[in-house]
Symmetry: C3
Subunit: 139 residues, 3 copies
Amino acid sequence: MKSHTAYLTLNTKTRREYINITRDIISELKKSGIQEGLCLVNAMHITASVYINDAESGLIQDFDDFLEGLAPHEPISRYRHNNTGEDNGDAHIKRTIMGREVVVAVTEGRLDFGPWEQIYYAEFDGRRQKRILVKIIGE
Amino acid sequence: MKSHTAYLTLNTKTRREYINITRDIISELKKSGIQEGLCLVNAMHITASVYINDAESGLIQDFDDFLEGLAPHEPISRYRHNNTGEDNGDAHIKRTIMGREVVVAVTEGRLDFGPWEQIYYAEFDGRRQKRILVKIIGE
Amino acid sequence: MKSHTAYLTLNTKTRREYINITRDIISELKKSGIQEGLCLVNAMHITASVYINDAESGLIQDFDDFLEGLAPHEPISRYRHNNTGEDNGDAHIKRTIMGREVVVAVTEGRLDFGPWEQIYYAEFDGRRQKRILVKIIGE
């Protein structure tokens, strides 16, 4: 069994941001040389998500509206977590709805994707450096 | 390490549909000959989910009511994504709540399940052919 | 390829409970002797979740408030599932939002975590014995 580990670093500029990382994951898969296996991609921060969906700007805005509707950022006092001095209570909940990780099949050296699947990193408490983990195992 | 890849094809008849695919996954596991490992099952479409829960019709209706309450199909104009000419903005959000994929342990050649775990495919934009990916790795 | 399987047993005392199981998973990883691979942790019951987030009591209360707001336990008659004689319709939905499972990378014999990642078991229909599955594969 082979394995490949990589840590991607992102500098997010705004509080909330949705970044297509599909090319970065494909690049890591090529480096791994793995033909058949599983590829895990996860946020290493607990206020961010990795998810799979469409690269369509309207949809991304729909996700953002939906999440802000369910768990609004303000008022800050809405979340007990913010009593610790943080202001990111909403971000922990938004990340939970969108998910921490994806597991993607690797077949014949490619991410085994349907026609519209793209891997996104979603940041909910940005404006600082964040890390994404890629772990590929197989043969 | 062994691996097994299969693509299941479903013809969904209604917009939203919940289909128990547990037997199909068990059948693929038997074909694989894998005794110990991991089994990934994911929707290959971004308006559909694979999830694990109970085979109980009332519960399935509860899920459907819950999802339609959170992200209603209509009015179509509710979703920016639908400005592209689609009418499935809600389906992308419903799929995100229910999840894209499940990863199941394989132990002694069986899906290592608790007493009530069943694998479902949930369609949120149906009435056409859809695909599910099964990838099993192990030994 | 090596694999390691363990079943953790918990006795939950209240209907809803959030339990940090990170140490238990680290202990299983050490027993496995696996240095590079993937670690699956999942609830074996369909009214419970395994998720990764912060070990902060305010945040845990925020999660609980959020889930109870979206899918309240009462009135019991709110859920068709409860027509079967159950009173846990809400718990199936809460578990779905929080997720069934996590997959964690194993690197150099450790759970490859960001600084704040902790593994939690979330119970939504407790007061009885429950099981968690740990499956680690790799080398």
